[in-house]
């Protein structure tokens, strides 16, 4: 296969994932001393940072009191991600800093895994322990038996470390547990991923179609801001959701779809748009390939056909198709973000991508814009050692479309029975609570029990730290420098994160930790700068700025090199696909043995007395990460289970009652959850917000509050194309009294 796609894939890997590139060892220009950096004139009343409470990375200012204590966090007006306004999690970020339940010092476990008996150790001892074990694993099995699970800004440092060590098993759960299928679908269709922040031009769109996306409850700052602007301009919002979400409350059309049938709806829309000649003919002719095959494929997918599957009346399907067409090209069929639902998610988002292509929205105003970013060089480091095998060797032929390592595959590869040829023996887990983010907890725990080494780096004593051999406490984003934020957006921009306070207790920054480990592993040469400030200053000087300037302004934006935010009229665009065109018909998928065009496949329905478990977000929390944040627990300290009144009447449940949930495999929730009887949820489903039900007693505010949806997700529908873990095929029933026997299990 041509390497054009591969090339694009590598270079669009998340911001900071490749802060260091391979190259010859050059003379890195270092500042004479760290003190020089500190002596630079800096406004002490406020310091710039960008938020780490979620992935949006809004840039802002941390204001301090006259005594120098962190007071509040406000958005940076120059920042395109936040436009000067932080979301509730960002504003509540002070709580992350002041949380007294934070990890304080490195820990090494003294009893069996999971018993959570640790002893406090110095950083040196912790590093010695880890490096010793890593060297053991390397000599016994090879460095390829180490794996890294990571999330957030520290990823680039630990990725550098792991690659330097000799392993390519680096997985971000945000791929296979979240947005992986969508990026593969868009890569296959348009040759480009949707990026983060998504390149959706919501503020100028005339029609926004949300397939299950619950903007307004998922607090993607920029998306909500732009949606609000669009509402002011009179946008038509079409929401497709079995639940009456906040977005549905603001929609002109709410399609209360039967869960798991979205592909049928999308195919019938494609049918309507093609057979009524609603599609953008010029665009399709100029930029797309495979139209005729697509037209033939959707021949029978009429609205009537879709009605029988989705329960959406045909005239509504027709009306909404017309709305989209009228708005074209300023229409967005939103690709969503967390799309790992039923295992055919790549194909579902392919249908969304195809729909966008037909409506001509990719590259057009009100559709999807072309992002631009700063080109910041990385420090020169030696070439990484070649990794002789990786997780793909554990499961040859599996997930061929995956362009990133699949976290659940890495976990499976850590269970000895699964693949005698190759096994992963050690994990470093950075800033991700695998117990909560990976479904099928039993499998994850089984893998953990078979490891020789488990290191967890975190700010809070999350569940994963309870299973670790070594717990390394990181300081929060308010106490450290980090990589430059070079996220793509309408204009290239840089954002600086600098500490507003010294690390509390005995915590250290990710850079510090990664470099400390590297030194013990004799890999210090891959971390040439002793301090991040030095690296940042060097990098900034290469692009015409400096650390001092960024400390003053926080965000630096520059104009695009060309006026190419959207396609110009009649512009000849070459897409990074194999054919150079937008592939409505995916030859790439076909070659790999998968459907080149999406097909509807019926999914399992809940058995009698069971209800489909649907989960989502609340705008005041980021998954389980903020459950203990004092500012945010004030807003929401537990999740509720939404039950339709018809169902609650049948079961005799009342509003405010606490019940346990039991799923189809007999797993019962650890803690009871409060019932909300509401018409907003369909009678065949129940809904709850993800991220509660914590079992860690050390987190005093959130221990035992609400229930964990991850625990109830034991059946995983894995997407055969790229390994995404579909989580919405679990069904729960209600238990009103938990007997002693069940509690013990």
């Amino acid at each position: 296969m041509t390497s054009r796609r591969d090339f694009i894939r590598i270079s669009v890997m998340g911001a900071g994932a490749l802060a260091m590139t391979r190259g010859t060892l050059g003379a890195a220009k270092l500042l004479s001393s760290p003190d020089e950096v500190r002596k630079l004139k800096v406004d002490l009343k406020r310091t710039p940072t960008y938020c780490e409470v979620c992935f949006w990375k809004c840039a802002g200012w941390v204001y301090k009191t006259s005594e120098g204590k962190i007071w509040k966090i406000i958005g940076n007006d120059e920042d395109q991600h936040s436009n000067g306004r932080f979301c509730p999690r960002g504003t509540g970020g002070v709580g992350m800093y002041y949380d007294e339940d934070r990890l304080k010092t490195p820990l090494i476990r003294v009893e069996e895994r999971g018993k959570q008996v640790f002893r406090e150790v110095s950083w040196d001892e912790a590093f010695n322990y880890i490096s010793g074990k890593m060297k053991d694993i390397s000599s016994k099995y090879g460095p390829e038996s180490m794996a890294l699970f990571t999330h957030g800004n520290g990823s680039s440092y630990f990725t550098n470390l792991m690659k330097a060590f000799g392993s390519a098993n680096i997985a971000e759960p945000s791929y296979a547990q979240c947005k992986g299928p969508r990026d593969e679908a868009f890569l296959a269709t348009f040759g480009e991923e949707v990026y983060s922040p998504e390149v959706t031009d919501i503020r100028d769109t005339k029609c926004l179609v949300l397939i299950g996306s619950h903007i307004g409850e998922n607090m993607h700052n920029g998306q909500i801001q732009e949606m609000s602007d669009a509402i002011d301009k009179g946008v038509t919002i079409i929401t497709v959701d079995p639940r009456f979400s906040t977005a549905a409350g603001k929609s002109k059309y709410w399609l209360p779809i039967k869960p798991s049938t979205d592909i049928a709806l999308l195919l019938s829309w494609i049918h309507e748009i093609i057979y009524n000649d609603y599609y953008d003919k010029k665009y399709v002719e100029k930029y797309c390939s495979g139209f005729d095959k697509l037209k033939e494929h959707v021949k029978d997918f009429t609205p009537e056909w879709a009605y029988g599957i989705t329960t959406i009346p045909p005239d509504k399907i027709r009306k909404t198709a017309k709305e989209m067409a009228n708005a074209s090209p300023a229409v967005i069929v939103h690709p969503g973000r967390h799309v790992t639902w039923y295992g055919d998610d790549t194909q579902r988002v392919r249908a969304i991508a195809i729909l966008n292509a037909l409506l001509g929205s990719w590259g057009r105003r009100g559709g999807f814009y072309r992002p631009a970013k700063y080109d910041v060089p990385s420090a020169k480091i030696p070439k990484y050692p070649e990794s002789k095998k990786s997780w793909t060797d554990a499961f040859p032929g599996k997930y061929p479309i995956a362009s990133s390592p699949v976290s659940n595959a890495l976990i499976d590869a850590s269970i000895p029975g699964n693949n005698p040829a190759y096994s992963i023996k050690g994990w470093i887990v950075n800033a991700t609570n695998l117990i909560s983010s990976i479904p099928n907890q039993a499998n994850t725990l089984k893998a953990i029990q078979n490891l020789d080494l488990l290191v967890s780096i975190d700010t809070m004593p999350m569940e994963i730290t309870g299973w670790a051999d070594v717990v390394l406490p990181e300081c929060t984003y308010l106490e450290r420098y980090d990589v430059l934020r070079v996220s793509p957006h309408r204009k290239p921009a840089l954002a600086l994160r600098m500490p507003a306070a010294e690390p509390m207790n005995n915590t250290r920054s990710a850079y510090n930790i990664a470099r400390g480990l590297a030194l013990k592993l004799d890999l210090g040469i891959y971390f040439p700068f002793e301090k991040q400030e030095e690296m940042l200053d060097w990098q900034l000087k290469q692009v015409g700025s400096s650390l001092e300037e960024m400390q003053r302004i926080g965000v630096k934006t520059k104009e695009r090199e060309a006026d190419d935010l959207y396609f110009a009229e009649n512009e000849n665009v070459t897409f990074s696909t194999d054919s150079g065109k937008i592939e409505l018909y995916s030859k790439y998928f076909e070659g790999a043995g998968f459907d080149p065009l999406p097909k509807y496949v019926a999914h399992e329905e809940p058995p009698d007395g069971f209800y489909r478990l649907i989960y989502g977000r609340a705008p005041m929390h980021t998954f389980g990460r903020t459950s203990n944040n004092p500012n945010l627990t004030d807003l929401m300290h537990e999740n509720l289970v939404w039950i339709n009144p018809k169902v609650s009447k049948e079961w005799g449940l009342v509003n405010g009652q606490y019940i346990w949930l039991k799923n189809q495999d007999g797993v019962i929730s650890d803690f009871p959850i409060k019932v909300r009887v509401t018409e907003r949820i369909r009678w065949d489903s129940v809904y709850m917000v993800h991220g509660f039900g914590h079992k860690q007693r050390q987190m005093k505010r959130c221990f035992g509050k609400g229930a964990s949806d991850t625990r109830m997700i034991t059946k995983v529908l894995v997407d055969p194309l790229m390994g995404g873990t579909g989580m919405r095929s679990n069904f729960v029933t209600f238990v009103t009294e938990k007997s002693e026997k069940e509690v013990a299990s």
Binding site: M219, Q225, L632, R680
Partner: protein, 177 residues
């Protein structure tokens, strides 16, 4: 000069950013809030309607809290903003009992506290913390006596309502519907 605030319920998503921003800006103690968000929903699936409101003290023109305060601690400041003078407040609780919106709360330090329309920010030309942070920009604030202020303009353009007008308090927090 009559300060007032308008909240656009069509744009409010209930994220409660206003609540947290107010908390950090004004050092509201944990467990207490000066603002809150209310969701009202009615209908039967799938004919459903939802209204989301960000609420706080209404700084009423006919404020029962000012009327009932025995020491004058609750008073009208510039622009009709209702404030509590901490050193005059004896903590009797009359104002908390007299507010039909239950907008006041007993501060752990003894006095009674509530939304101040961030008067310390207005004085230097900044918007109240909640209006300044709201990601949907659904909170408008300004002087009703100035026809060009944000709030005057938006109230002229849109239909609005206040909460329990029949309580006779003449609240100055409007909800655009």
């Amino acid at each position: 000069m009559r300060y007032a605030m308008a909240v656009d319920t069509k744009k409010c998503v209930g994220c409660s950013d206003c609540v947290v921003a107010c908390q950090t800006e004004n050092n509201v103690p944990h467990g207490f809030c000066r603002e809150w968000v209310v969701e009202t929903m009615n209908g039967t699936y799938p004919q459903l309607e939802i209204e989301i409101r960000s609420e706080r003290c209404n700084h009423c023109i006919n404020a029962p809290c000012v009327r009932c305060c025995p020491t004058g601690a609750s008073h009208f400041a510039e622009g009709g903003i209702v404030l509590v003078e901490h050193n005059k407040c004896i903590g009797c609780g009359a104002c908390m009992a007299s507010c039909p919106y239950d907008a006041r709360y007993p501060h752990p330090d003894g006095y009674v506290d509530k939304c101040t329309f961030c008067i310390h920010r207005i004085k230097i030309g900044l918007a109240p913390a909640c209006a300044a942070v709201c990601p949907t920009k659904c909170i408008y604030f300004g002087d009703l006596d100035d026809p060009n202020s944000d709030v005057s303009v938006v109230l002229k353009k849109r239909k609005s309502k206040t909460l329990i007008p029949e309580a006779g308090t003449k609240p100055q927090l409007y909800f655009l519907i």
